[in-house]
């Protein structure tokens, strides 16, 4: 989502037009996901990825021609795409069209789109306040928002009173308690001879 936001940092738009651009990106994301979900089995096996990129490039060009939205708006859509979108492991042919799985999948995509639009509007709001009300010059450039994002990320990683220190979180993520370090476990295994 952060990568998808990067093009928005350099748009010379005001609050309203940024919101419209974010809305357009989200609607196009939903259209693309729906289109390729239902038509991917009709493409010859190898050409699906090429068709997907051609689709993105053509729409980037068409929208650029029509609305003067900068051509790199398509990067936001590309980075918002689900990772497993075009992999061979996902086989929609085995899923019924109106089954719960499909509903869940599209619900997740819808949530991702709404979340992205909200994220863009929130950061634009922060930029407006920082630039116009507080008069901070850094917010006229991407630097101000990068600073805000890094500060939020730093605070998120170091939450006080969360009941866990950072080392405990790392141990929990590795799946090994302090009494069973993975290296010691490996050493205890019998060797070949």
């Amino acid at each position: 989502m952060l990568l998808a936001y990067l093009p928005f940092m350099v748009y010379p738009y005001d609050f309203f037009r940024t919101g419209v651009a974010a809305l357009w990106v989200v609607i196009f994301l939903w259209t693309t996901v729906a289109f390729f979900w239902f038509t991917r089995r009709f493409f010859p096996g190898r050409s699906l990825k090429h068709a997907f990129f051609l689709w993105l490039v053509v729409w980037a060009q068409a929208v650029w021609t029509l609305t003067k939205l900068p051509p790199y708006w398509i990067l936001s859509v590309f980075f918002l795409m689900p990772v497993s979108f075009l992999e061979n492991t996902a086989k929609p042919g085995h899923v019924r069209i109106f089954s719960k799985k499909v509903l869940k999948y599209f619900f997740e995509r819808a949530l991702a789109g709404i979340g992205f639009a909200g994220f863009v509007v929130l950061l634009e709001f922060i930029r407006e306040i920082g630039e116009k009300r507080l008069g901070i010059h850094a917010f006229e450039q991407p630097a101000g928002l990068l600073l805000v994002i890094s500060a939020v990320a730093f605070l998120w990683k170091n939450q006080p009173y969360s009941g866990r220190t950072q080392s405990q979180s790392i141990e929990a993520e590795l799946g090994a308690g302090p009494s069973k370090p993975p290296l010691m476990k490996r050493k205890q295994r019998p060797g070949k001879g």
Binding site: F43, A51, W59, L66
Partner: protein, 35 residues
């Protein structure tokens, strides 16, 4: 069996051609609407 496979493959390539036509139509329509 072979005929079915052949028909499916042909239909897929036809679909690809249709898809490319759709993309060309999108670009053409954008150019027309711009004027």
């Amino acid at each position: 069996m072979n005929i079915k496979r052949l028909v499916v493959a042909t239909a897929k390539y036809l679909f690809l051609v249709l898809f490319l036509c759709l993309l060309a139509a999108i670009l053409y329509a954008a150019q027309l609407l711009r004027r």
